[in-house]
């Protein structure tokens, strides 16, 4: 239980670290990625990645 609990916490925390905790690093307009200013790309990327992270958490929960 305890062991399984750990990666879940990390998976839940990483999206926050990558976005709200590090605004200063990604809030820039260049380089553009897929035509988007970098910050718009970064936020969109993480919107999609939250689904991936939650899906992995769900898989871990089901295996438990």
């Amino acid at each position: 239980m305890k062991k399984l609990f750990q990666p879940v916490i990390w998976l839940a925390v990483v999206p926050f670290v990558a976005t709200v905790c590090t605004v200063g690093f990604w809030d820039r307009s260049t380089p553009t990625v897929l035509g988007l200013p970098f910050n718009a790309f970064w936020v969109s990327l993480w919107a999609a990645l939250v689904t991936v992270f939650l899906w992995v958490i769900e898989l871990l929960r089901k295996r438990q």
């Binding site: 976005t19 035509g35 200013p37 993480w46 919107a47 999609a48 689904t51």
Partner: protein, 483 residues
């Protein structure tokens, strides 16, 4: 004439579907307000998507992209992130709701913290907040329909007709009607938003890439924080994302909507799928950014989306936007109406008459309150007063103040009623006071978050100072094992 016909057919068709949705259903509050806890993955998805994608998402986001720039990204960030706490807390809430027959947010307060006046206070604040938010939807609807019909349907008529139609299908079908209308609304709106978001950059700039290349060259400051208005800096961005996540957990209508799910797994799957949906908001911001070049100098940024669509597409597409835009207001308005009426029938009325009414009486009363509230919402939307605008500012930071009760109520069995009540009042006074005095952002921080920090601190301090409520101990542990 054509846009008018398209708008009218979309709205009438949706209302019919909404009314038919409630046929052959039992007449009780649980069925009417939360679909008898029987919605599967798709229905919950459409209901939740319907609540998230409001007229604010359409007009407000494109308007923010147009006038403010980079700060608009906060909306695309908080919605996905909010699904993370909700993935863990939502199923617990759902399980408790099933076991203890909860329908509303005050029901949760009642179960966890007890007392008479705390749940009633929460019900009152929630009902007023929902009413104010409801009128915002109607104001947006009036704006969209008037513009899309090129004045053929004046704002006032649009608001009056829409209020009547919403009241009609909500009265008949409750939340089930809202979910079914949302299927039509979501199909149309997602198509329209993505199509406009791709076509407008393509037609005027030759693509999304060239559009941003040009805009970045002409307005480099617009695309990094604080954007084109100095007050929305990094502090504001982070604190607004956090306070919006707190609010996403405790908006009273969304809280009730989580109870519509058939199982805890449906709640989880909805959290997993929702972040991807947010990507369609990105296309709406493209429209707003494109409008900076195509229709520069608009006084009201909220008109950016409609103005650029009008300047680009044939009238039938404008009609489609008008009809879909009307539904975008009607779906969340319907859910808010159901919830506000349930709050009155189930949580406020018993306090007023001093006894528990029969289940049938509460259900009957709630349905009639719908009529009253839609009239009030319509009148407020027509008057469009300054007081309401101020109340609306309060609404956003206000609902977030319920979040300590929700979060700590589920995970910390030492949280007491006195602590929660004191924190709630402190949070509301600080967030409200700062906002009404025009001090939001306060030293760069979102005023709602300032209130929320004090709120949490007071809850901890007061709860620690007193003995835990015996009633709560053990219950939370039991809820944690929810399957």
């Amino acid at each position: 004439m054509m846009p008018l016909a398209i708008i009218a057919s979309i709205v009438v068709l949706a209302t019919l579907v909404g009314c038919l949705a409630g046929r052959h259903r039992a007449v009780n509050l649980e069925e009417w307000a939360i679909g008898g806890r029987g919605f599967g993955n798709l229905m919950v998805w459409f209901l939740m998507a319907g609540e998230i994608f409001t007229t604010y998402s359409l007009l407000g986001l494109s308007g923010w992209a147009y006038t403010r720039g980079a700060p608009v990204l906060y909306a695309m960030l908080y919605l996905p992130l909010a699904q993370i706490p909700l993935y863990f807390l939502g199923p617990r809430q759902w399980e408790l709701g099933r076991r203890h027959g909860m329908v509303t947010l005050p029901d949760f307060f009642q179960w966890r913290f007890g007392g008479e006046w705390l749940p009633a206070f929460v019900a009152l604040v929630s009902a007023v907040t929902l009413l104010v938010y409801l009128q915002l939807q109607l104001v947006g609807l009036g704006l969209i329909v008037e513009f899309a019909s090129d004045g053929a349907i004046p704002r006032a008529s649009a608001i009056v007709v829409a209020s009547v139609l919403i009241a009609l299908f909500v009265f008949v079908s409750g939340v089930r009607g809202a979910a079914w209308v949302s299927i039509i609304k979501d199909g149309l709106m997602t198509f329209a938003a993505v199509f406009a978001g791709i076509a407008i950059p393509a037609i005027h700039f030759g693509g999304v890439g060239p559009m941003f290349a040009r805009l970045l060259h002409d307005h480099p400051q617009h695309f990094v924080l604080p954007g084109s208005m100095a007050i929305y800096g990094k502090r504001w961005f982070v604190t607004s994302v956090l306070v919006s996540i707190a609010g996403a957990c405790t908006w009273p209508h969304t809280f009730s909507s989580r109870f519509t799910a058939r199982s805890a797994d449906v709640v989880r799957r909805n959290c997993i799928a929702m972040p991807v949906y947010v990507l369609c908001l990105l296309f709406i911001t493209f429209v707003g950014f494109g409008a900076m070049v195509v229709v520069p100098g608009l006084k009201n940024g909220d008109l950016a989306f409609l103005a650029v669509v009008k300047a680009t597409f044939p009238v039938w597409f404008l009609g489609l936007i008008g009809g879909a835009g009307a539904l975008t207001a009607m779906v969340p308005a319907a859910v808010m109406l159901v919830t506000a009426a349930t709050l009155v029938g189930k949580n406020l009325w018993p306090v007023v008459i001093g006894r528990e009414p029969s289940a049938a009486a509460a259900a009957r009363l709630s349905r009639w309150v719908v009529i009253g509230f839609s009239v009030v919402g319509g009148v407020l939307a027509l008057s469009n007063s300054k007081t309401i605008a101020a109340l609306l500012l309060l609404a956003y930071s206000g609902v977030a103040q319920f979040s300590p009760a929700f979060i700590l109520g589920l995970v910390w069995d030492r949280a007491t009623r006195a602590g929660i009540a004191a924190g709630l009042v402190a949070g509301l006074v600080i967030a409200g006071g700062l906002t009404l005095k025009g001090l939001d952002p306060w030293h760069g921080f979102n005023a709602g978050l300032v209130g929320l920090v004090v709120n949490f601190a007071v809850v901890f301090a007061v709860s620690r100072a007193r003995a835990p409520q015996a009633v709560a101990l053990g219950r939370i542990a039991a809820a944690g094992t929810a399957k």
